[in-house]
Amino acid sequence: MHWNVVFNNMDYLLWGVYPNGPLGGMAASILLAVLGSIGAFWLGLALGLMRLSGRWPVRIPAVAVIEVIRGTPLLMLIFWFYFLGPVVFGYTLPEFESALIAFVVFTGACVAEIVRAGVLALPRGQMEAARGQGLSYFQAMRYVILPQALRNMLPSFANQFVSLTKDTSLAYIIGVGELTRAATQVNNREVVAPAEIFLTIAVLYFIICWGITATGRHMERHLIRYQVR
């Protein structure tokens, strides 16, 4: 075994050539995952609420977008934004940005389904009582339904963000310098230790994902006190 190869390249795996160059390695993966999660949350919230709307011109496009995106492999979506952006927009987006857009869109569609399920799981009386108080539909959503529903969705969100963190590895394919790409570069340079290198980055990913899962569980335990019964 050649574990020294891993130790010698650890800084490259963790943050790339950062002070002297672009951020890379695990730091870039985390950045992609965090920005992707924030974007996906807002897009998913919008799409999910659109799908719940009673008006068909709002609902049908949301259903179509969600179903098409969820039925397509993420890799295909990344290619769409990267290779076919030029055909549509006339210029090529940088790798990092186009991968980020693909992650936001893909995860947003999954978050939309979580939001829909979370809102539907609340007792109907909540909405009816809120409307009966004289709140408008949007006010009722904003102040009564969503604060309760989002809390119940926390475990599903944590799962989704774990998936997103794992999926950031796909950005490697179009050339974003994140953790998986750093690992393949080290592997190509050193040749002798593929198993050690890929096992190491698997453990690095595992630590991040497990951290998200543990945080999710902790928040869930903390917030469960406020649940409606």
Partner: protein, 233 residues
């Protein structure tokens, strides 16, 4: 930008045949990995519920590790790392045969099995405990009551989530292009680099993926609706 659309590329001739071959390989690798993952996932779920501590820990560690690491990294580990992990003779035999396909199938199987095990465990938990106690009391052994009483019921409840896991496997199979398995996404890239008509090639590939996914999700939702109605009676 003057992009000339030319749909004849994907509707006839050599390039269409490439895409169709790729689609068939995608179906083949996801089918094979799906069957293996169901078997491995069932074994993992049974180990996890076995109440034998070392077996439980093994299954827990296995599912947590493979669920929380990216499929792409696992794929690279099996593909590039097999030289270190496996004996030389086995590797030489593998290189002489279709090594890419084998590594891809293995990675997809192990990754999906971890998810399938969790779905099955959730399915088993939703069966009332008395079912198990009653079957033990009638004289069935632990494995017999699992096999004849618990698993058939758990599978029926777990069918919708299991099918959606298999659908994920089908979509994830696009990743094996990175190690050179010539499936649908790989062939779409090939057509793109040969003809510079990426738009048409990716549209055709996306439509093939969508056709399968949408049909399967429709079938799941029909099954759950039918099944839920049955449960209510």
């Amino acid at each position: 930008m003057g992009y000339q659309f030319d749909w004849s590329i994907v509707l006839a001739g050599e390039y269409r045949d490439w895409l169709i071959e790729g689609f068939i390989l995608t179906l083949k690798i996801s089918g094979l990995a799906g069957v293996c993952a169901l078997v491995l996932g069932t074994i993992l779920a049974v180990l996890r519920l076995s109440r034998v501590k070392p077996l439980e820990w093994f299954s827990l560690a296995f599912t947590e590790f493979f669920r929380n690491t990216p499929l792409l990294v696992q794929l690279f580990f099996w593909y590039f790392g097999s030289e270190t992990v496996l004996p030389r003779a086995v590797n030489e035999w593998l290189y002489a045969h279709d090594f890419e396909f084998a590594a891809g199938t293995l990675a997809l199987t192990v990754y999906s099995a971890a998810f399938i095990a969790e779905e099955l465990r959730a399915g088993v938990f939703s069966i009332p405990k008395t079912q198990f106690e009653a079957s033990r009391a009638t004289g069935l052994s632990f494995l017999q009551s699992f096999w004849h009483i618990i698993l058939p019921q758990a599978f029926r409840i777990a069918i919708p989530p299991l099918v959606s896991q298999l659908l994920n496997l089908f979509k994830n199979s696009s990743l094996v292009m990175t190690i050179g398995v010539m499936e649908l996404t790989y062939e779409a890239r090939q057509v793109e680099s040969f003809t510079f008509h990426g738009f048409e090639a990716f549209t055709a590939a996306t439509l093939m993926y969508l056709a399968v996914s949408l049909c399967v999700s429709l079938a799941i939702s029909m099954y759950s609706r039918h099944f839920l109605r049955q449960l209510k009676h």
